[in-house]
């Protein structure tokens, strides 16, 4: 197991953690902004207006069929010039993850809203509740329950996908790892194994609790 000492070098772990923080930051901001975007998109998708529907379909299908890496390239190399946008790599990542997260979450919101039994609306009507009261007190709380487990899963996927940011040159955990591997090439030739191994587990440690939370939520609310 020679080479493992690389991990004990001063600065190695703190720097990897800093890199991980970039990863988590990108994912956090993306998830945070995706939520309102997703709610709006989901609501738009339930509208009957054919134009809105068609637009939403195209948006969702395009985002879904393109690999995220391809979307990142489109945003990084394409957007900046088409729209004269000075979007750096981090910005491009956040933008793509918001568009992607918004689409996926939107579809979840649509599904959740449509899965509420009609009789819930009818009971509310008969009890005299106004449309807004029905939505805010009856429908939304139920939709959120149905939504949460899948949304947490989506967050996990976004965290995992932030790994692609390195391919645009964002200095996140993988890039930091590569810098460390490069800087220590002579002393620790097998550092590659250890650094990539540690990064593998860092992702696991960030994502796993999210997976567990999602599963718990699913179990807790599955009987409604």
């Amino acid at each position: 197991m020679q080479g493992a000492e690389i991990l004990l070098q001063p600065g190695v772990f703190p720097r990897l953690l800093q890199g991980l923080w970039v990863t988590v930051w990108i994912a956090g901001v993306s998830v945070g902004v995706s939520i309102p975007v997703g709610l709006v998109v989901g609501w738009l998708m339930t509208l009957k207006n054919p134009v809105v529907r068609a637009l939403m379909r195209i948006y969702l299908d395009f985002i879904r069929i393109m690999p995220q890496l391809a979307l990142l390239f489109l945003a990084y190399y394409g957007f900046a010039r088409w729209f004269d946008w000075n979007l750096d790599a981090t910005g491009a990542c956040v933008l793509v993850f918001i568009l992607w997260g918004g689409a996926e979450l939107g579809d979840l919101v649509r599904g959740a809203l449509q899965s509420i039994p009609k009789v819930q609306y009818e009971s509310s009507y008969v009890l005299g509740l106004s449309p807004w009261q029905t939505f805010s007190r009856v429908i939304l709380p139920q939709a959120v329950r149905r939504l949460l487990p899948a949304s947490v899963n989506l967050a996990t996927r976004i965290v995992k996908t932030t790994s692609l940011a390195v391919l645009l040159g964002v200095v996140e955990v993988i890039k930091v790892g590569q810098q460390i591997i490069d800087a220590n090439r002579f002393q620790y030739p097998s550092g590659t194994l250890w650094i990539y191994g540690v990064i593998f587990f860092m992702y696991f440690i960030v994502c796993w609790p999210l997976s567990i939370v999602a599963r718990q939520l699913e179990k807790r609310w599955s009987h409604d």
Binding site: P117, V119, Q120, E122, S123, Y125, V126, L127, G128, L129, S130, Q133, R137, V138, P141, Q142, R145, H223, D224
Partner: protein
């Protein structure tokens, strides 16, 4: 289980009852009405049982009365006050456009267990009086507890709907409707999805309600129960009333029309 002495009709009503006249209901994309020229009157404090084969329009009738469907002809009135009027061309419209206050004068319980899963038993019952009628919280909760006690569920007030059996849920749903003091209560096959023992516990509550003078329109397939509770029966078929009787016992013993005989025969063996 005690009788519902204090609930039932609100003291201000002038005891005229509930009436439907020449009601016509047509769904969008249908070539003919589901309900055609339906008229009947339910005296205050009496129970009307609506019978009929599947698809005859029983649920639709209750839904139009509750305001869940706009009507295309005729009127629906409580105590001589018209609350809904037929407007042609509304086939595609959503609900009737009744005010909240008007809606609370008619209660309804559905076949499916339709409690709000995100509220406790007490939350389900107190929601409408607090939100819609803006009544005092302490008073509403006290009344809710009294109602729960009457249906034998006082100890389950903090339970969540998913922790209740089907029969318990339906009893809570009845309390949720009763707390608004509806002048008419509509029950649409509320025991159809229940096990026999639960059927009994729910129907016992309804029988007590009838004794306490609650005006009700009931759709049911439990013929024994119908016979026991009905003051007044109508038999629907193909959107028409094929037989109406103000003597329930006579109706079940000696139906006048061939259609009614045939229908009642479905529930008898040998």
């Amino acid at each position: 289980m005690t009788a519902f002495e204090t609930s039932g009709p609100s003291p201000t009503s002038d005891c005229k009852g509930f009436e439907v006249r020449h009601l016509v209901k047509q769904y969008a994309n249908a070539d003919k009405p589901v309900l055609n020229d339906i008229s009947f009157k339910v005296e205050h404090g009496t129970v009307l049982v609506v019978l009929g084969p599947s698809g005859s329009g029983k649920s639709t009738l209750l839904r139009t009365i509750a305001g869940l469907e706009p009507i295309q002809g005729g009127t629906i009135s409580i105590n001589d006050q018209v609350i809904d009027e037929g407007r042609p061309g509304t086939e595609k419209a959503g609900r009737s456009n009744r005010s909240s206050a008007l809606r609370t004068r008619i209660g309804m319980v559905f076949q499916s267990y339709d409690l709000f899963p995100n509220k406790t038993v007490l939350g389900n019952i107190t929601m409408a009086p607090l939100l819609v009628q803006k009544r005092d919280k302490a008073q509403v909760e006290a009344e809710a507890l009294k109602l729960l006690d009457r249906v034998g569920l006082a100890d389950r007030k903090d339970a969540w709907p998913h922790e209740l059996s089907g029969g318990q849920r339906q009893r809570v749903a009845i309390c949720r409707a009763l707390i608004l003091h509806p002048e008419v209560l509509l029950l649409d096959e509320i025991t159809a999805a229940l096990d026999p023992e639960m059927v009994r516990e729910v129907l016992d509550v309804v029988l007590e309600l009838a004794k306490a003078g609650q005006t009700m329109l009931i759709v049911t397939h439990e013929m024994q129960f119908a016979r026991a509770i009905a003051d007044h029966v109508i038999l629907l078929d193909g959107g028409h009333i094929v037989e109406e009787s103000h003597d329930a016992h006579a109706f079940f013993a000696h139906p006048q029309t061939e259609r009614a005989r045939q229908f009642l025969h479905t529930f008898e063996f040998e």
